[in-house]
Point group: C2
Amino acid sequence: MNQLPTAQMASTVESPVETSVETTDYDTPSSRLKLLAHPERLRILDAIRRDAECVCHLEALLDKPQPYVSQQLRLLRDAGLIEDSKQGQNVYYWLVDNEVRTWLEAVLGPAGGALPALTYHKRMIACPCPKCNDEVTRSEVSV
Amino acid sequence: MNQLPTAQMASTVESPVETSVETTDYDTPSSRLKLLAHPERLRILDAIRRDAECVCHLEALLDKPQPYVSQQLRLLRDAGLIEDSKQGQNVYYWLVDNEVRTWLEAVLGPAGGALPALTYHKRMIACPCPKCNDEVTRSEVSV
DNA sequence: AAGATACATGCATAATTCCGTATATATTGT
DNA sequence: ACAATATATACGGAATTATGCATGTATCTT
């Protein structure tokens, strides 16, 4: 109840006309924030900001049906937040938008080193991609 | 077929229970991000992060009907992002959530000094509150 | 070539959010 | 007490988003 108006810049507004009103765009940031404002998409973005991940891996991570994951990926891809590359049958996705990367750091903290999400068991069961099951390094997979 | 793990590899994971999988919560941040992911709410938050503002001022800022503004304010208040205080007939709102303040800085940049939005004309027409029309200092409006 | 695997897309419905209108409440002034 | 002002809430339909399911496509294996 103590936070009260402190500024007195009213007196500085002596010329009412033609004061270039510095119209800020709130539509663009809000439409991009909308993509982060979804638990499963946020989880996806958190995963791929560390390293590219294949769809089957994300599928195991979210524990959701494959079409569900692909649909979320499509939204992120269409908005230009992520990119993908096909390696054999697998498609790897990674974060390309640096603005969003900054936002993710503000919201979730810095990207940790290792992926925290998949247990060994879950990976064996649900994610058969080479990156999960062979010892594949990032450079072999990368673009 | 992909290489399958050997039995002894599996044996290194002999205690499947209590492997703290560091379950990250994405529901909480995403539900708060949802409140930012709306152009008018974002504009409100941007306005009141600099200084407390009354409802009539925000009404002029958004150029939306008063109930509309009050409804957005309610969402933000119910989520604990903002607080309010009544001064006479006017109700002033300000940002209390510091986490969200950080997010706003990441998304919109640092809060500027002066409110950019209301022209002198618009203020005279639409915002009759003392802060807008009299030369009111913080102390006069304050508790 | 046929089947299997990994992924994408289209579509329909369910769930949620948006937002306009009507109305209620509290404060101030006459 | 009455009117005017500032703000809040209730309610409902429109618009959007979420998501399950069926199916399509490309690649790999045999």
